[in-house]
């Protein structure tokens, strides 16, 4: 009897499919290797990490870039958690979807889905129009942190909700049965059990935000910053000055991705070495963050098995 079940396309197809995946893999691999080779000279040069940008490519470094990235990300994480976790808790624990409030809840839910799909540069325009010009925050670290926090918000809300949803109903019923209020339950049970999932979401969101360039260019981030924000610490008691902290918030800044963009767009080839080196460092940062999130997620899943 002739075998009709496995014709030639049937044998070929999985090979073609695997090849397609290999193309993607080699694309990624080439990207990483290419950056590494192009930037090697600067990657291994310690002064690159502690120098300010310069007109001379061999003296230029990423000091103001990574300090700016650190400060902006700290702000972004703070704001996005401040709004994202409560919003996620509300939608998962409190929303009843009944009556007029229920309508608002549905709008909040749809809205967060929509926010996730808005092009990042639109958030830059929002920040330019509202934070920079209408609130007069200027082109500052504060504005940048707020802008990136809006980008992170949908990811945080979605991950918070998913983490909370995994907690079984019994836990809540048990808490209510011994007289706990809803807030008691959230504080003592829901939040602790979902913290791992929330943190995973935070790391993923932060790994996206750390590489964002367009919204920060839109708010007018400068590309050439040859100074650091003032230190808020003082020599006298209480060793920290509120005025100085405000100065840090309002300080102009640059971040790693903007520094890279600036170097890429220069005609001199020597600057491209700097761009490749900084790009490689940024890429490694995002790889690490994603790896941590991946590991964390696996661990959390094993920790609580209901």
């Amino acid at each position: 009897m002739k075998r009709k079940n496995t014709s030639r396309p049937d044998i070929l197809f999985p090979i073609i499919g695997a090849l397609a995946f290999l193309i993607v893999l080699s694309f990624l691999f080439t990207l990483i290797i290419n950056l590494f080779i192009d930037g090697l000279e600067k990657i291994k040069d310690p002064s690159f990490y502690v120098s300010f940008p310069s007109r001379f490519p061999d003296q230029a470094g990423i000091l103001s870039g990574w300090v700016g990235t650190l400060l902006v990300m700290a702000g972004a994480i703070f704001w996005s958690l401040l709004i994202g976790i409560p919003a996620g808790i509300y939608l998962e624990e409190y929303a009843t979807k009944r009556g007029i409030i229920g309508k608002i809840e549905t709008i909040i839910e749809l809205n967060i889905n929509n926010l996730a799909a808005v092009p990042a540069i639109i958030y830059g325009l929002l920040a330019l129009g509202i934070f920079v010009y209408r609130f007069k925050f200027g082109e500052s670290i504060l504005t940048a942190g707020l802008t990136l926090s809006i980008l992170m918000l949908p990811v945080i809300v979605v991950n918070t909700r998913e983490a909370i949803r995994r907690i079984p109903r019994d836990i809540r019923e048990g808490a209510y049965a011994v007289g706990a209020t809803k807030w008691d339950t959230v504080r003592d049970h829901i939040l602790p059990y979902s913290l791992g999932g929330i943190l995973t979401g935070l790391i993923i969101a932060a790994s996206r935000a750390i590489g964002e360039t367009a919204p920060l260019i839109t708010i007018g981030a400068l590309t050439f910053i040859a100074f650091l924000p003032p230190s808020p610490f003082t020599s006298d008691f209480p060793f920290i000055s509120v005025d100085k902290i405000w100065e840090v918030f309002m300080s102009p800044f640059t971040v790693l991705p903007i520094q890279i963009f600036n170097w890429v767009s220069r005609p001199q080839a020597a600057f491209q070495v700097n761009a490749a080196a900084a790009g490689f460092i940024l890429l490694i940062l995002t790889v690490l963050m994603n790896a941590i999130a991946y590991y964390f997620r696996q661990k959390v899943r094993r920790k609580y098995i209901w």
Binding site: P9, P86, I107, P119, I122, L126, G129, I130, E212, A214
Partner: protein, 297 residues
């Protein structure tokens, strides 16, 4: 005892209010976007008529005779997104079918995070790679390819949106119940035939939703095109020439010093509004398609 209970109840109500407020703030973000885009666009359209914006074929805001016809920017945007889709759809579909119907669990567990990692790579890094690696290679293959062009960014964007075109398509195909495949095998269909004539059509709305979200992503992408496509508004379909996209224009203007209220400042909000509307339409179609998935079975 009683006061403690009353205290608890007040705290409970208070926290409800706090959580609800956080939810409301997310709505204000969208309200803020719409408000800023509309109010500054209205100012823009006081100086440039909507008719000129939609019918003029030139975009020359930095010239002495300023012309504000959005079509060159829209054409540049869609040309690059189109090239990205030409790369991403076949590649994504092949990978999706392979991962969903053929690959072992182990391969899948490694492959999915790798594909999804493409979304986490900073786009400015893709931009560097496009300008200084992909374009020079393409110049050896494609005659008359300029240093800035829409071909190279289009191809790179095609890879960048694979998390949508491959990964989401795979999710959709995975969602097709196993019994439908078994029924097909029972009738004597091969694996490939089952994949192409049973699973693919059953998952089609999810797959197309992924394609549309991917296209929307390519349309809104900024850094790759700002770095590698050139900054030249060009009403062309020739992928070898430099073009400017809507996002590229916003970056170009933002890099200069913007006086608040100037025509250049206002023009990026009008372009932003057009971009927002396009993205909104694409996302709404994708959401509608995804909501249909549940109705099939």
């Amino acid at each position: 005892m009683f006061s403690s209970v009353a205290h608890k109840k007040i705290l409970d109500k208070l926290m409800l209010a706090v959580f609800f407020t956080a939810g409301l703030i997310t709505i204000f973000i969208t309200v803020g976007i719409v408000y800023v885009l509309l109010s500054d666009s209205i100012e823009f359209f006081k100086e440039v008529s909507i008719k000129e914006f939609l019918t003029e074929k030139e975009w020359t805001p930095v010239f002495a005779t300023k012309k504000f016809g959005i079509w060159p920017l829209v054409a540049g945007t869609f040309l690059i997104a189109g090239i990205a889709m030409l790369v991403s759809i076949p590649l994504g579909l092949l990978i999706a079918i392979y991962l969903s119907e053929y690959a072992s669990v182990k391969v899948k567990e490694i492959a999915k995070p790798i594909i999804e990692f493409l979304e986490a790579i900073p786009t400015v890094v893709f931009g560097y790679f496009t300008l200084l690696f992909v374009t020079p290679i393409l110049q050896k293959i494609v005659p008359n390819l300029e240093g800035f062009n829409s071909l190279a960014p289009g191809i790179v964007l095609g890879f960048m949106i694979l998390p949508y075109t491959a990964s989401m398509a795979e999710d959709a195909m995975k969602g097709v119940p196993q019994r439908i495949r078994e029924a097909s095998y029972a009738l004597g269909a091969t694996k490939l035939r089952t994949a192409l004539t049973i699973v693919l059509p059953a998952a089609v709305s999810g797959i197309v939703a992924g394609f549309i979200l991917g296209a929307s992503r390519a349309i809104g992408e900024t850094m790759v095109v700002a770095i590698a496509a050139g900054m030249y508004p060009n009403l062309t379909l020739d992928p070898r020439e430099p073009v400017q996209t809507m996002t590229g224009y916003i970056v170009q203007v933002a890099l200069g010093d913007l006086p608040f209220g100037s025509i250049e400042y206002l023009s990026i909000f009008a372009v932003g509004l057009a971009l927002f509307l396009i993205a909104f339409i694409f996302n709404s179609i994708a959401l509608w398609l995804r909501s249909r998935i549940r109705e099939v079975y």
